[in-house]
Every structure is written in C-alpha cells, then in structure tokens.
C-alpha cells in the first residue's frame, strides 16, 4: 500500500544450528557490520562466528559492587562511631567483624541490581515493544524453533539485491523484507495527558501527606501512646490512696540517693567535714558549677555584686571575715538547705558538685586575700613553667 515505507532490513531463516553458524560467519566475513542473528536460545560458538567482542557488563558489576561495599561500611562506621556512638555488647564502636554481614549483603544487592538494570537499559535499550521485527513472521519462527539472520539497511554496505543473493547462496528460507512500522505521534501538551499528570501529582502528594500526618496517628499505629501505665502526677485508679507516684518502702534508700540528715542541725559545721581533695579536676568542676549556679547573685569572684541589679537583696560577699571563718561543712550546709532568701540547691547540684563549689569558694577567698608568701609561690611556679 504505502510504497514510501522505510526499509529496515532483510531477514532469512535457517533450520539447523550448523547452518546459522555458517551463515553468521559468512555475513560477518563479507564485511556487514549491522546485522544480527536471532535464535530461540543462545547458540554456542556464535560470539566467534559473529565476531563479537566480549561483553563489558562485568565492569558495571564491579563498580557497583565496590560502591556497595564502600557505602555500607562507611555508613555503618559513621552511624555507629561518629553520629551516635554506643557501646554494644562490650565491642568497640567500629566492630568490623560484626559489620561484614551487612556489607556483604549490600554489596551483592547493588552489584546484582546494577548488572540487571544496566544490561536492560544500557546494553539492550529496553523496553522496546515497537521494534520493526516484532509481530513479523520472522520473529514468530525464531521465537520457536528456527534460526534467523537479519541484515539492517542502516549499515554502510547494504544493498537489497546483494543481500538477497547472499542469503540465497547460504540456503536461507523465507527471505523477507522488513519495513519500519508507521508510528503515530501525539503532542505532549494534550489536555488528557496533562490531566493525567495532575492526577498522579495529587494522588502522590495526598497519599504521602495522609500517611505521614494522619495514618501514623491512627490505630493501630499509635497504640504505643496508649499504654497501660501510670503517668506521674496523675490520679491513679489502681492504688487505694489515688497517688500514681509511690513513696519508697520504709527504711530503704533509693540507688544513688544519699539522705541529708543535718537539715535542722543547729551547728552542722561541727559534724560535716569536707570529704574531697581539692585537686585540679575538682576545682574545675567547682568553678564550672559556681559560675552556673552561684555567680548570678554572688558575683563571678564572690564579691556579692549581683548581676540581677537589685531585683533581689544583694547577698553577702565571701570575702568578709565571717565568711572566711565559716567551716567547709557550714558552707556545704548553706548550699544544701539555703539561708535567708537563698533557696537550697540540693535538687540542682549533686553532693559531689556541692563540695567542689565549697573548694572553689576557698580558692576565691585565698586569691582575694593573698599574702606575700602566696605571691612568691606563684612567681616560683610560673618561672618553672617557663623553664618547661
């Protein structure tokens, strides 16, 4: 009908594998480059007959395999050593033997998927259901039990009658001429197509929104929030007294909790003595805590110069004789239970930290009231430091 159909190529069929090997050798030997052999299964020895170069598919596999191994290992290293280091089972953060299984699996996954996807898209350019050979008699035969060879018109040496003669001389049957199918082409900006795109967009975004913001807060996904447990400060229906928080059993002490029995002691300084040694770390801890909790009112150097500018009555200086003569125990007691306007700091500052603060106050006091001997000592020490 349509004489202007574009020529795709010529095809011929053969009955036995021996014939097709011979035909392929002949065709590749005659200098045709654009030709192909179609067989229902891979015929051994065809690579040589067609003069094909070995497949380069392995390169993709190797690259992606290495990438998989590297990514997995680096990711686990980053996640478990840098981002959220956690001791698990007494093992080092970077527990290499335990990372090997996951590394291996990711390597295999990436290598195989990339091989297959690479082969289908990069090497085969699939999917391709509109190829001219489809639905031809030729394809029906090579799909079943015949061996076919096709020479394409796009090749440089192609000449219809010469190819026909070549096929005939080889003993090819069913020699056929194949044309490109007529393709219908539609414009992209069709209302139908645009509507379709919009629909896809709405469904995708709506679905995502629903899943993340609604679905995750519905039953059963939120079952974790409704657990059968008591919430602190709330009324209990389980305990008789209605309190959901329980007091410790009589005569017991909670772990890590040290009771303070000297709250009402008139002279606690007599019974409390400093259990810490004013080493460097201890003083530094004291300084840290002092600057956090004490300095807003007592001033950075304990001068009683509040930063709060008179919103509260100014506290006394630590450099008065009264303060300096106070025992460590007394200072500790005041920090623990408070004095006058000052509240107790037992809940914010731990026992050890309180003693460290006491030690630090002693440092401040000595610094403000340094004697000549102290100055000499400092000079000596700094000199020896220079020597180092």
């Amino acid at each position: 009908m349509n004489t202007e159909k574009k020529l795709y190529g010529l095809t011929a069929l053969f009955d036995t594998p021996d014939e097709i090997i011979k035909a392929a050798e002949k065709v590749s030997g005659s200098g045709y480059e654009k030709f192909d052999v179609h067989t229902p299964y891979p015929v051994h020895g065809m690579d040589d007959a067609m003069k094909l170069k070995p497949s380069k598919l392995g390169i993709i596999t190797l690259l992606f395999g290495l990438a998989g191994a590297g990514t997995a290992l680096l990711f686990m290293y980053w996640a478990l050593t840098l981002d959220y280091p956690m001791v698990i089972g007494g093992k080092p953060y970077f527990a290499l033997p335990a990372f090997i299984p996951v590394t291996f699996e990711v390597t295999v996954l990436l290598a195989t998927l990339s091989t297959v996807i690479g082969m289908l898209t990069f090497f085969f350019r699939f999917p391709e259901n509109d190829h001219p050979l489809h639905d031809s008699e030729y394809m029906k035969h090579v799909s079943k039990d015949k061996y076919g060879i096709a020479i394409f018109a796009e090749g440089p040496k192609f000449n219809e009658s010469a190819v026909k003669d070549l096929f005939q001389s080889l003993g090819g049957k069913n020699i056929q001429v194949v044309y490109y199918p007529v393709k219908e082409i539609y414009p992209v900006f069709q209302p139908k197509f645009i509507l379709f795109l919009a629909l896809v967009a709405i469904i995708t975004s709506g679905g995502t929104y629903f899943t993340l913001n609604k679905l995750m807060f519905m039953d059963p996904f939120n079952w974790m929030m409704n657990q059968q447990r008591e919430i602190p400060q709330s009324r209990s229906h389980f305990f008789e007294d209605g309190f959901s928080m329980r007091v410790p059993v009589q005569g017991t002490v909670a772990r890590g909790f040290m009771p303070y029995p000297y709250k009402d002691e008139p002279v606690p300084g007599e019974v409390l003595s400093n259990p810490t040694f004013p080493a460097r770390e201890n003083i530094e801890l004291g300084q840290n805590k002092y600057l956090t909790f004490c300095s807003p009112c007592h001033g950075d150097y304990g001068d009683g110069d509040s930063r709060l500018r008179g919103q509260f009555p100014n506290p006394p200086t630590f450099h008065s004789n009264r303060s300096r003569e106070m025992s460590d125990g007394m200072l500790y007691h005041i920090i623990t239970v408070g004095q006058n306007v000052m509240p107790g700091y037992a809940s914010q500052v731990t026992r050890e930290e309180r003693w460290a603060i006491v030690n630090y106050i002693r440092v401040l006091q000595r610094a403000k009231n340094a004697t000549d001997a102290d100055v000499e000592m400092i000079k000596k020490e700094s000199a020896s430091n220079v020597g180092n």
Binding site: H44, G58, G89, G90, K91, P97, A98, I100
Partner: protein
C-alpha cells in the same frame, strides 16, 4: 579410534628435576636432623608442619579424584593422573609419621601424665587424648586413606590397558564410600594433630577449616603441576585453557570457602567472647603474632582473591602458575599460624629459627621424587578412561 587423535606421547621427567628432588630431600633431612639435636622441640614442630602439609596435598588430591568420579565430571579426566600421582604420598605417610610418634612428648601437653593429673579438664579428655588411642587413630586414618588410594588408583591404572567401563563403575562406588570416611578421618587428623596442641581449646568447625585448606592446597598443587607439564608438552595438545579455567575457578571457589569458614570461626568466638574459646585467638595476637594473624587474611584471602577474580585471570597459564604457588605458600603459612604459636618458646611472640626451613625443603624434594616414581610407572593421561574423549572435547 580415539587413540589416534589423542596426540599424547609418554615422556619422563627431566633428570635435572629428579636430581634436584634428591638433593633437596637429602639437604633438608640432614639439616633437619642437625636441627633436632640443636632444639628438639622446634624441630618436632617443624616436622609436624611438614607432615601436615604433605598430608593436605596427598589426601586432598585423593579427594579430588573421588570427587571427579562421584560428580561424573569429564573436564578433569584428562588431567586426573596428576592428582593420582600427588596422592601417592599417602602410603609414605605411614613412614613419615614415625618420627612424630617419638616426639609426642615434645608436641602434646596432654601426653604428660603429671600434667593430666593436676588438670581436671585434661583428665576429662583423657579417654580420647591418650597416647595409645592417639597412635591407633593415626594409623587407622592413614590405613583407611591408603586402602582407598590403592584400590582407586589400581582400578584407574588397569583401565589404561583394558578400557573396561566396569572399572569406572567400581571407582564411583569406592568414591561414594570414601566421601563420608574422608570427612571423618580428615576431622580426626585436624583435631588430633593441630587442635589438641592446645588441649584446652575446642571448636566444632575446626575439621571443616582444615578441610578447606587441604582442598585448596591440593588444587593449587594440581594446577601448578598441570600448567608446568602442559607448557613442557607432556599432555595432549587438546588440553586447552578451558580446562585450566575450571581449575582456576575451583581454586577461586575454595579461596572463598576458606575465608568463609575462617571468618565464621573467628567471628563467632569474637562475638560470644567466652574466655575458654578466645584465649586461642589471643595467643595468636600475642606480640609479633598479631602481625602474622593480620597477614594471614591478606596472604590467604585478599591476594589470591584479587589475583583470580577476573575471568581471563583464571585462564591465563602464567597467572595460574604464580597464584597456585602463592596458594601453596598461603596454606603453609596457615598451618604455620595454626601450629607454631602453641610452642612454649614462641608463646610471647614469633621467634625466628633456621630449623623452620629444613623439613619443608626436604618435603619439596620428597614430593618431586614420589611424583617421578609414579610417572615412570604409568601413563600421564588415563588413556583407557571412557570419559577421556569427552574431557578432551570440553569447552566452556
């Protein structure tokens, strides 16, 4: 009919090689005896190392022969004589083992009655780990391998003359019985000779570990010999690189298998962290042994893996020659790593000694001599085997 196309002429090994074999054997043995009088313990350990190596190559080769019969493989038929010759070290094991039996006290802590008396664990193991039963097991294992070796090889030899297909059937049956027996005996050998050097330690996979090394080493030995003989024209020209590819691929598989077994053993013990198991690895982390242990991974896995990964590499005779020698060295290194840290003198770290080189040199000579002896007696290709023609036609 196939005789004419076989394209094979029997040739004898060059005298030079045989003389070299004798020279190595004599030098090695003499130096070894000198070594024994300098440091008897060290010499005993070195001798054990050599013995285990000869055993691996010999028994592993017999396994390879049996596997071919059992799997009905045809590609390996033309080169089957090589593993058969290598397996002929098996009867010699019965002689080679005698010096070891005399140095049981040097090697095995459990053989000292006073040590057993004060160690409850050893006392518990005494029904198995005692000198009498040990010697019985040793000879039983060697006898079993020897019997299967003699029968299978005899059938294969007979076929050269008669071409009788029933002999193949017989060997298939023998191979089928050999396999389970082999699994048990090789595990016993591994446990007795190597695991019980540290009698407190135990690992259920140890037999499989030794098996993987054994098969790998014998494959490497077979590959090396096949490539050398093929280059020098001892075989039919119809043995192509496709045959070599199969050997290379098998080596590659067993490199991975060894790594898999070694990793499984290490990882499970490392993860569970039970002191009664970890101390064995800790011992191999003591002092300079740590370097040895890390090098083991590189020598036994990383280098051969990279060397044989690509498809062309498995076909390339040059590459195969280098890699198979390397794997033989790696197996030796593996055995060294298994055996030597148990020696009292090297518990704190590796100590160098020239004695370590004496017996291995003798071993190389011994293998050459035995190979030559076998080669003189029979054809290098199983000319009467019905699968030979199929094997020669083998293509990938």
């Amino acid at each position: 009919m196939s005789e004419t196309k076989l394209d094979y002429n029997k040739k004898e090994l060059p005298d030079k090689l045989v003389r070299l074999g004798y020279a190595l054997l004599i030098i090695g043995t003499v130096l070894g005896i000198v070594g024994y009088y300098t440091d008897s313990t060290r010499a005993a350990y070195t001798y054990l190392l050599m013995f285990m190596f000869v055993l691996s190559v010999g028994v592993g080769s017999l396994f390879f022969v049996a596997l071919e019969y059992l799997a009905g493989a045809d590609w390996s038929t033309p080169i089957r004589r090589v593993p058969e010759y290598l397996a002929s070290t098996i009867p010699f094991l019965a002689i080679l083992v005698i010096p070891l039996l005399f140095s049981i006290h040097d090697l095995f802590h459990w053989s000292h009655a006073e040590a057993v008396a004060e160690d409850k664990l050893l006392a518990g193991k005494a029904p198995y780990l005692n000198t009498t039963f040990f010697i019985i097991r040793v000879f039983a294992c060697i006898a079993i391998w020897g019997i299967f070796y003699l029968f299978m090889i005899r059938n294969s030899q007979k076929q050269d003359a008669t071409g009788n297909q029933n002999l193949t059937t017989k060997n298939i049956r023998l191979a089928a019985i050999f396999m389970p027996v082999f699994a048990i005996t090789i595990s016993i050998a591994a446990i007795d000779w190597m695991m019980s050097l540290e009698p407190h330690w135990f690992s259920t996979i140890f037999g499989v570990y030794f098996f993987s090394g054994t098969v790998l080493a014998s494959l490497a030995a077979i590959t090396f010999v096949v490539v050398m003989l093929k280059e020098k024209g001892y075989f039919s020209k119809r043995i192509t690189n496709d045959h070599l590819y199969s050997l290379g691929a098998l080596m590659f598989v067993f490199i991975n298998f060894w790594a898999y077994i070694a990793f499984s053993q290490y990882m499970l013990i490392w993860y569970a962290d039970l002191p009664e198991e970890t101390f064995w690895f800790m011992q191999r982390w003591e002092g300079s042994w740590a370097v040895f242990s890390i090098l083991l991974i590189i020598i036994h896995f990383v280098i051969p893996y990279a060397g044989l990964l690509s498809q062309p590499a498995k076909k390339d005779p040059k590459r195969l020659k280098i890699m198979s020698l390397w794997i033989l060295f790696a197996h030796f290194y593996d055995l060294y790593w298994l055996i030597m840290p148990n020696m009292e003198a090297s518990k704190q770290g590796y100590v160098f000694s020239w004695i370590d080189f004496t017996f291995p040199v003798a071993m190389i000579g011994l293998i050459i001599i035995i190979f030559n002896m076998r080669n003189k007696k029979s054809n290098l290709m199983p000319v009467g085997d019905p699968k030979l023609e199929r094997g020669l036609n083998f293509r990938l």
